[in-house]
Amino acid sequence: MGKAWLDLWVGLFVVAGIGALLFLALKVGNMSSVNMADSYQVSAHFGNIGGLKVRAPVKSAGVVVGRVAAISFDDETYEAEVVFNLDSRYEFPRDTSAAILTSGLLGEQYIGLEAGGDSVKLKNGDQVKLTQSAVVLENLIGQFLFSKAQEGASNETAQ
């Protein structure tokens, strides 16, 4: 095995291996989570975050505009405090509302932003005031049963 041949084959092997890694990283995987170098941080309080996890997407009009950075418990207001990074390319008005939504029926949860109309924009460190907690299934079922029971009762009294 001549030395030149050896080097050639090893070189090809290493190039192929790195090529495979690049293929996996770019075509197979989701690289957008890495390209958030230019971002600003915003926080929001929620009564219940449901199944929201760190690194969950923040979407507006269905497009990913940021990622959840940290979730903690505020023991003064007894609410959850969620800190998320927003892509610097996108600015949102100060009266934007944030809601915890579910993708699909049983999918993972994300934060949906609905832009408001204020001319002043959110800056790094600002807080989103208008929030909507996650829908908790048990409460929903409880509400449904309760409203059904009420309907039944009012029907009876009507008769």
Partner: protein, 263 residues
């Protein structure tokens, strides 16, 4: 001593031998790391070992990857069809390969092909007194023979695992999209959505590096420690494959529980 007591004594003796052998292996591993200077300063030595460990394993890795991917495509389609989620086939194939099958199966194949070859080579060099001759010429056999093979294996392993995963995804694509007719667009787009670079791909690479270190360390140690007879060498190669396989699977469990802990 009556028979049951003798058995227990034997068990105790065996355990002590195994533990002292593990200590020997750990010291040998440290010595290999510390004397790796030559392997990098004269990199041509390591390049030669990358050829023998990595390039010569390409065929088995690529072919196996392709077949594993194709089977994943078939089986995945079967199961997903019952939930009407065939378009998620790309997700299934990609995640299974990148997270688990790529690193683990590639490491198992590497252990049987390259690991056993390294053990046999070093064992034979010991049996034919080549290592002793090197020592008499004041050339450290650990630095000159063992370290380049160790680093050759560690460098080859992640590349082989990536190639395995890539071949597998291609196999899944062949079966799912080309043969069966799953929608090509959703195959790739759902895959891209679900596979995260840091969580899945990076973790897979870390796994393959850890496996590479484990397999190659075991292979060089068994070769160096082999009894200098034909039987000794053959037993050492068998031990390499068996021990490597068990260690890979055990490490896989440990690493997975660290990495994918309720994401």
């Amino acid at each position: 001593m009556i028979a049951p007591l003798r058995l227990i004594a034997k068990l105790g003796r065996r355990t002590l031998e195994a533990v002292s052998r593990m200590g020997l292996a750990a010291r040998f591993f440290l010595a290999t790391l510390m004397r790796s200077g030559v392997a990098f300063r004269r990199f041509s030595l390591t390049i030669r070992e990358i050829y023998f460990a990595g390039v010569l394993s390409l065929v088995i890795i690529l072919v196996s990857g392709l077949f594993v991917g194709m089977v994943l495509g078939l089986q995945g389609f079967e199961t997903l069809q019952t939930y009407g989620s065939e378009s998620a086939l790309g997700v299934l194939v990609a995640l299974a390969l990148v997270r688990e099958l790529g690193p683990v199966v590639a490491a198992l194949l590497f252990a049987s092909r390259a690991g056993s070859a390294i053990t046999a080579e070093i064992g034979l060099m010991k049996a034919t007194e080549q290592l002793a001759a090197m020592e008499m010429m004041a050339v450290d056999p650990v630095a000159r023979v063992v370290a380049p093979r160790f680093w050759g294996g560690v460098i080859s392993m992640p590349l082989l695992a990536a190639l395995f995963s890539a071949a597998g995804i291609f196999g899944g694509y062949l079966v799912g999209v080309v043969l069966i007719g799953v929608d090509e667009g959703s195959f790739w787009s759902q895959m891209q959505d679900a596979v995260d670079f840091e969580e899945d791909i990076l973790n897979g690479v870390i796994k393959s590096v850890v496996f590479g270190v484990a397999v190659t360390a075991i292979a060089v140690f068994e070769g160096y420690d082999a009894l200098p007879t034909a039987e000794g060498v053959s037993r050492a190669t068998t031990r390499t494959v068996v021990t490597s396989s068990l260690v890979i699977l055990a490490l896989d469990f440990v690493l997975t529980s660290f990495m994918f802990r309720g994401v």
